[in-house]
Symmetry: C2
Subunit: 334 residues, 2 copies
DNA sequence: CTGAAAGCGCTTACAG
DNA sequence: CTGAAAGCGCTTACAG
């Protein structure tokens, strides 16, 4: 059994109140007692029990993080940023994989509540009404990352997807492309789906390029769906010179299909992705894409959350800065 | 304030002992009381406080997981498996990123102890003496995954790296290759470095192929290091027809350099990787590699841990089954 | 400067 | 079937 405060009190011949005081760096003991207590603690290898402390303070110094899929490179980049900030501020993070399943999400929320986490970051998923209801009941701070919401009191940090998509498309246009296809994310997804397609359409319009439905195919952000969407696009024999994919994985799917079909990138087809996950630079040719600062976003979301926990004030939303990373999948048309 | 057991007891006109009993499905109350209590719980939206419960039971139903780098696709695949098993058995998992930093690892261990986790899985990192010492002091079950150790009482689950490397090399040999280069992982790494190189050497020897030092270059498992190692190998003008890389990322580095140099894969050079992380199939051409069942390994490690927590018995080590995934980077020599 | 005591939200003998 | 009480390991007024 690990020693408790009672054990060290007994051994040091003081009361547990005194041990507690030196433990918490409060005032009210002689330097002599302090030394004695400290020595005893050292000797016994005593470590305070945060569970007991948490029961009194109503603070556990742990936060919960919900991901639709912990193992995606997207999620794990966010997690890295979150964990880093939390660690530096003495918080622990418990992760939950929601599998994008409503029931499971609700269960996770319940568990986090029972475990008395101090706050929750909800990552890259839509904050549904039913989730919000329980969050409201739990009464603890929540922040969204790579997602957004209108619910009051729930700040978010994300990139401006519409603008980023606009710029990606415009980048292609500036390179001389006019026949630009797009592979959108999950159709109807209000966070990462719709806005990116809208940004693409607006860029086309603003540059006097007619936007045609048939130039758009949809995937679900994943690699396989990018492959199918590209096949689909090819089948329509549209003669496009560039494609903008709403995720790197889908863009890499495009690269893959292109290679299989003998379409040379970027000579015959230019490709730009979205996210800048790690594999974007590993692929051949290295993928030009729009960077989302996932790590900082995670870290920033965690910062907001801890701030809310500690001050009780609601944080502001943040728009993270994206930028285009030029690599080798886009060429200028002459 | 969330309602406590006291609140529901008062409202239901029973003692807290009775509420506790129905909460825990014990015996000793009439069906009428049960209904009344249940109804009150429902009405008040009461949820038990696991912190308080944990203080008594000395069980938190949470486990800690240490990773050298949470955001690697390798770690996140393990994490996914761990979280899944934990979730299904009503455990939560708190993640810690050690950054492969001794001080930080020790700090994480201390935090996990203070937070009274029921067990720890230590992932893909060497269990140093100093870590083992504190683990021993904490007195809670530990299991290693994708790592190994001789410390008594610390079971591990991993692939047999030596055999897997042997088979990867032999696969190349069976395809007619004789001049086979290797890119090893971190030099001297006793877990994923040395054994794979040894497996490679043994396969060569067993097939009567002389093994020469200069055919081996070393990286650190990462993409960039794979690129440099490949450049290094090329500089030695060895005229090899195949390369075995000790990680997929390094193998992809090889692909990348080959593409840049106009060396066609697999026509002029065959490549086989190790891990079978997600990007292995996204790359062009899709990478032939040896599969490590990361998800199952994580899940299995978690199973062992929970078993140790609940039975108090030490689990056995497990060797996870690897296999070669044939894709398109190896060709048969005629 | 120091300690006895109440209390955090629960569980669990013990007594009835 | 039910409740009063002790206790888990701490913190924090309160009294001295």
């Amino acid at each position: 059994m690990n020693p408790t405060i009672k054990d060290v009190a007994k051994k040091a011949n003081v009361s547990i109140a005194t041990v507690s005081r030196v433990l918490n760096n409060l005032t009210g003991y002689s330097d002599k007692t302090k030394q004695k207590v400290l020595r005893t603690i050292e000797e016994m290898g005593y470590q305070p029990n945060m569970i007991a402390r948490g029961l009194i303070n109503k603070r556990t110094r742990t936060i919960g993080v919900l991901f639709p899929n912990v193992s995606s490179s997207f999620s794990s980049a966010l997690l890295h940023g979150i964990e880093e900030f939390a660690y530096n501020h003495n918080y622990s993070v418990v992760v939950c994989n929601t599998d994008e399943d409503g029931k499971r999400t609700l269960k996770c929320l319940q568990v986090l509540r029972e475990k008395q986490v101090d706050g929750i970051v909800f990552a890259s998923e839509l904050l549904k009404d039913e989730y919000y209801k329980v969050l409201e009941a739990i009464q603890i701070p929540v922040v969204l990352v790579s997602s957004e919401t209108n619910y009051p009191g729930v700040p978010y940090v994300k990139v401006d997807d519409r603008v980023a998509a606009y710029e990606a498309t415009e980048y292609l246009i500036h390179k001389g492309h006019k026949r630009i296809a797009m592979i959108g994310g999950t159709k109807g997804d209000p966070i990462a789906g719709v806005p990116r397609v809208e940004g693409y359409m607006k860029a086309l319009k603003d540059h006097g390029i007619p936007c045609m439905e048939e130039y758009i195919a949809y995937g679900d952000f994943g690699f396989a769906s990018g492959c199918s969407a590209m096949e689909e696009l090819l089948k329509r024999s549209l003669d496009f010179t560039a494609v903008f994919a709403a995720s790197d994985e889908m863009a890499i799917g495009v690269l893959s299909v292109a290679a299989r079909r003998g379409i040379r990138v970027p000579d015959e087809l230019s490709v730009i992705g979205y996210d800048n996950v790690e594999l974007a630079e590993m692929v051949v040719p290295p993928l030009t894409t729009v960077n989302q600062p996932l790590n900082e976003m995670g870290s920033n979301a965690c910062e907001k959350l801890i701030d809310m926990i500690e001050t009780g004030k609601i944080s502001q939303n943040s728009i993270a800065q994206h930028h285009i990373v030029e690599r080798q999948t886009v060429r200028a048309l002459d």
